[in-house]
């Protein structure tokens, strides 16, 4: 079993500081704080009061020991989270409610297997499940797009039907009008008749 950061005994000046201070230091290092700023902060920290000053060599040593371990620890936590999500996806895909105890137990058992497997095998497996999930999501997106398209086509068809009906109603209305029928049945080209009908309709609407 590998030694975890929490159990490592750091005998350096920084390593003997409380866990919370080391944790904050690691976060500051990760965020790119300069050595000068870090040393000022560390040497002014209440936990450091009355102790020998921490110098740049101490900080440099910490970068390659405690800080490097901390980064590895973060990576391990990230892997476990990935495995946990993989296990959850499988439990959900099997039809389980993710919040139900059965799914939680199943996720725990799968996680045990993944954590017990070779790191590369487990990582491959997690990647394969993630890829499968992505495929499913893409398929669902496509299905949704298809539904939207079908709906748009149905709406268009509906509009066409409404337009045809409105045309028929208009035709029947104007067919009952004697003047309109005379224009329609009278001499002249269709263009002339359309112009005359439009003028007649406008006139009727202003009355």
């Amino acid at each position: 079993m590998s030694t975890t950061p929490a159990t490592r005994a750091y005998r350096s000046k920084i390593g003997r500081l409380p866990w919370a201070v080391r944790h904050e230091l690691n976060e500051r290092l990760r965020d790119g704080a300069t050595g000068t700023d870090l040393l000022t902060w560390l040497n002014r920290h209440p936990a450091q009061r009355g102790k020998p000053r921490i110098n740049s060599q101490n900080l440099s040593d910490w970068r390659t020991s405690g800080y490097a371990d901390w980064l590895r620890d973060l990576e391990r936590a990230h892997h476990i989270r990935t495995y946990a999500e993989t296990a959850q996806h499988i439990a959900t895909a099997a039809g389980g409610d993710p919040a139900a105890v059965g799914s939680r137990i199943l996720a725990g058992r799968m996680l045990d297997m993944l954590e017990g497997a070779e790191a590369e095998t487990a990582a491959d497996f997690a990647r394969a499940v993630a890829s499968l999930r992505k495929g499913e999501t893409d398929a669902q997106k496509l299905e949704l797009e298809n539904r939207k398209l079908t709906l748009a086509q149905q709406n268009l068809e509906l509009e066409k039907q409404k337009f045809k009906r409105l045309t028929c109603e208009t035709f029947l209305k104007w067919y009952q009008d004697k003047t309109a029928v005379e224009i329609a049945a009278g001499p002249g080209s269709n263009e002339d008749k359309i112009a005359a009908l439009l003028a007649f309709m406008d006139h009727q609407q202003t009355l």
């Binding site: 590998s2 975890t4 973060l74 391990r76 959850q88 105890v101």
Partner: protein
């Protein structure tokens, strides 16, 4: 390190997975992260404490309908606390 901290880190990293107290005890023991060697009774007591509203209900349990045994898991509040505390990793 406090047993409660180790238990919460173990469960929160693996959420929503749920484990029996005995499994949690075994994994925390194997991690070697606890200040003192925890007993199963101490692990069960720590789980009950973590589940109490006083500590913010950081874990919860559900009874498996098949074997009628409680399984413990980290709640959303527990996961948030673990994240804020630096996402400590427990391996064992």
């Amino acid at each position: 390190m406090q047993l409660r901290t180790v238990i919460l880190a173990f469960l929160a990293a693996r959420a929503p997975a749920a484990y029996k107290a005995a499994a949690i005890h075994s994994r925390c023991q194997r991690s070697g992260m606890c200040a003192t060697e925890p007993s199963l009774a101490a692990t069960e007591a720590a789980l009950r404490e973590l589940a109490s509203p006083r500590l913010g209900a950081l874990v919860d349990m559900a009874i498996d309908p098949l074997d009628k045994v409680p399984y413990w898991y980290a709640t959303d509040a527990g996961i948030r606390r673990w994240t804020l505390d630096g996402s400590l990793s427990v391996e064992g």
